[in-house]
């Protein structure tokens, strides 16, 4: 679970890190007032839960309070589309208004789970900012990584290695070591997946200031951190995706014409792959998961049909934990409620397949049955009007 920049900076502040002077605003008037109080230039930062805000115009500088108000007026309530939001974008409900900081140097500092080494990793770079990924490819010598285990924590000497790598002055070394250790403790205690400070500004007066911060928690651990779970901002979720999550469904909207309902993420991806293979375009990724209920299946099918771009549907179920009859009942319920007006290809296999097929057949609804995966995909693509 990603949290907003202002929430991440709150955590950083509490852990002793310097952040720019600033405050959150939800109206143009507040932005103008804050710009006046803080003293211009100020930076307005759109609080949407996605990266790539800068390039998308979500981070703007204002030289006067009037300009701040003008920009805020443009940003607040609008949708910001970044490389990570998808084409619908995310609504800007809040702006973080910060006094501008002009750094002498921009560093990079992050803590993350490294699944490859099955360890935690602390990463610093002498050159932060937007080009950090390019840097990691072409000038890896400017980046230093230190691995550590969750039970052992980050050691003083490891933090020191990073501090000296950043060529900080001796007084900052001690500060940085102490704070990075607090950060690592926080990371471990709260089950983070990522904590990134980029850029970490080194100011003219030799202070470290976190100009931007990204914190991502492990969704699987939220049950043991209710105080973290409560930070979720539902306004930043796509309506369909939010509805899906409520029923334990994994749904991601895409731009094609074939709506898919599948059990299992791997089979769902394979279903999309095969649709493309035959020249079709999937309208979504939808995994109903293993512990699904009849009601959730019903919701899933409604979700699929709620997408007006969908021309044909494809239900692909390989029963294991999930029983085909349960899926069939859920689908029939939803189809009856909605008056099914688009062709839906059904392929059932595995646990209770015969019972499932019987339920669908007896529903009298116009399902088209396929005998195997490949045939199902072919049919769905044909019916979507985009055959190869």
């Amino acid at each position: 679970m990603l949290i907003h920049e202002f929430q991440a900076k709150d955590f950083l502040r509490r852990l002793g890190w310097g952040v720019p002077e600033g405050s959150l605003a939800e109206t143009v008037e507040e932005v103008k007032r804050l710009a006046g109080e803080l003293g211009c230039p100020v930076i307005l930062k759109a609080q949407v839960l996605a990266g790539g805000r800068g390039k998308a115009g979500g981070i703007l500088k204002a030289l006067r309070p009037e300009e701040a108000a003008h920009l805020a007026n443009r940003l607040l309530g609008s949708k910001l589309v970044t490389a990570q939001t998808g084409s619908q974008g995310l609504t800007i409900n809040k702006l973080l208004v910060e006094k501008a900081v002009s750094p002498k140097k921009e560093l990079y500092c992050a803590l993350a789970v490294d699944r490859r080494n099955e360890n935690l990793v602390a990463i610093v770079s002498q050159q932060g900012g937007l080009d950090i990924e390019e840097l990691s490819r072409f000038r890896p010598q400017l980046i230093k990584k230190i691995y550590f285990e969750p039970d052992e924590g980050l050691k003083n000497f490891q933090a020191r290695q990073l501090a000296y790598f950043l060529e900080l002055t001796e007084s900052l070394v001690k500060d940085f070591v102490a704070r990075l250790k607090l950060l690592a403790g926080f990371f471990i205690e709260k089950d983070l997946k990522l904590l990134e400070i980029n850029p970490l500004a080194l100011t003219e007066d030799n202070r470290l200031v976190a100009l931007d911060a990204r914190i991502e928690f492990d969704d699987c651990s939220l049950a043991r951190h209710p105080e973290i779970a409560s930070l979720r901002d539902e306004s930043q979720e796509n309506e369909l995706e939010k509805r899906a999550r409520k029923f334990g469904l994994n749904y991601i909207k895409m731009d094609g014409s074939i709506g898919c309902l599948v059990n299992g993420a791997g089979l769902a991806m394979a279903t999309m792959d095969i649709i493309k293979h035959f020249g079709g375009q999937p309208a979504n990724f939808l995994d109903i998961g293993g512990g699904v209920t009849e009601e959730a299946v019903s919701q899933a099918f409604e979700l699929l049909l709620a997408d007006t771009q969908v021309v044909s549907g494809l239900i692909n179920i390989f029963g294991g934990i999930v029983r085909c009859d349960l899926v069939a009942r859920g689908v029939v319920t939803a189809a009856s409620r909605l008056s099914l007006n688009r062709p839906v290809v059904v392929r059932l296999e595995g646990t209770n397949v015969n019972e499932g097929r019987r339920i669908l057949e007896e529903s009298g609804l116009p399902f088209i049955f396929a005998s195997d995966f490949e045939q199902a995909a072919r049919l769905a693509v044909e019916l979507s009007g985009q055959p190869r």
């Binding site: 471990i188 089950d191 991502e216 299992g264 649709i275 293993g290 490949e374």
Partner: protein, 293 residues
């Protein structure tokens, strides 16, 4: 032969008395799996599905000497269940549980190293040596004994692959789901190595997925080892949405690896037969195997 489990394997069920565990343990017993005991703290001394239930894995091991354990417990108890099994001397642990926090899994991996135990999963359908033993939740009837080894990161997609193979007249030596989580126990490489020396196995099918580096590691291993058996691979997710990015750190840590195209390219270079159409896993494998003669 087969790898990891066979008809003689003695299997413990952790969390036996739970609803899901009960359902799947019944299916395993029906399949012929040699379940010997269950563990549920507080229910020690009871019988469940005809199996003795113990309070701790340690007691179950002392009484019934299981060699394999299959775990059905809630996500936040998953890591401890794995550690308990390893500490009690179980050498193969299969964790069905989905949703174990990733930091817990990092701790588990250190623990397993100390105990020298192997883990399959978590978030796996388990594994099956058809006709001998099923330690998992996959539908048993779609499998049949035969020459194909399967290693998969997916659940239902594995059933799909198995189903296609069986339909094409090809049975399986062992089919292993390694689990879909970021941190899992045994990966492609270790299992490929086991299939390498398994006499029953004549070809191996890998079912990969976007994300992580398991497929790249497999490619490197296959290239370096001069693998003596044909290997086929389908990598799911070529058309998947990009998904939420793990900040810049993801790119710094993982570099440019993790994409379906990258994985496919690396595997192809290593001599792996790439299956583009996931509807043709069975027939492609049959073609390859018949071309061996």
């Amino acid at each position: 032969m087969s790898i990891l489990i066979d008809a003689k394997s003695r299997v413990l069920v952790q969390g036996l008395t739970g609803k899901e565990a009960t359902f799947h343990s019944q299916r395993m017993l029906e399949y012929g799996t040699r379940l010997v005991a269950g563990v549920t703290p507080g229910k020690g001394g009871q019988l469940h599905l005809g199996l003795p239930v113990f309070n701790t894995v340690e007691e179950a091991v002392r009484a019934e000497s299981p060699e394999v354990s299959i775990i059905f417990v809630p996500p936040l108890a998953g890591a401890e269940a794995i550690m308990e099994a390893a500490a009690a001397g179980i050498k193969l642990i299969v964790c069905i549980t989905e949703g174990i926090p990733v930091l817990d899994m990092l701790r588990v991996k250190s623990w397993l190293k100390k105990c020298r135990a192997s883990l399959i999963g978590p978030n796996t359908p388990g594994l099956i040596s058809p006709g001998q033993s099923k330690v998992g939740i996959m539908p048993g009837h779609i499998h049949q004994p035969g020459p194909v080894g399967i290693i998969s990161r997916s659940g239902t997609l594995t059933y799909e692959a198995v189903n296609q193979l069986t339909a094409a007249g090809l049975g399986q030596s062992t089919a292993v789901g390694i689990g879909g989580d970021p941190v899992v126990g045994l990966r492609f490489v270790e299992l490929l190595e086991m299939f390498r020396t398994d006499q029953q196995t004549r070809a191996v099918v890998l079912i990969g997925e976007i994300g992580g580096q398991a497929e790249e590691e497999a490619a490197d291993y296959l290239k370096a080892s001069g693998y003596p058996k044909p290997v086929l691979a389908y990598v799911a997710g070529r058309t998947a949405p990009p998904g939420k990015r793990l900040g810049h750190a993801g790119a710094i840590i993982e570099g440019r690896q993790g994409s379906a195209e990258g994985k496919i390219e690396r595997l192809r270079e290593a001599g792996v037969k790439i299956i583009d159409n996931p509807g043709r896993i069975g027939v492609t494998t049959a073609e390859i195997l018949s071309s061996l003669h």
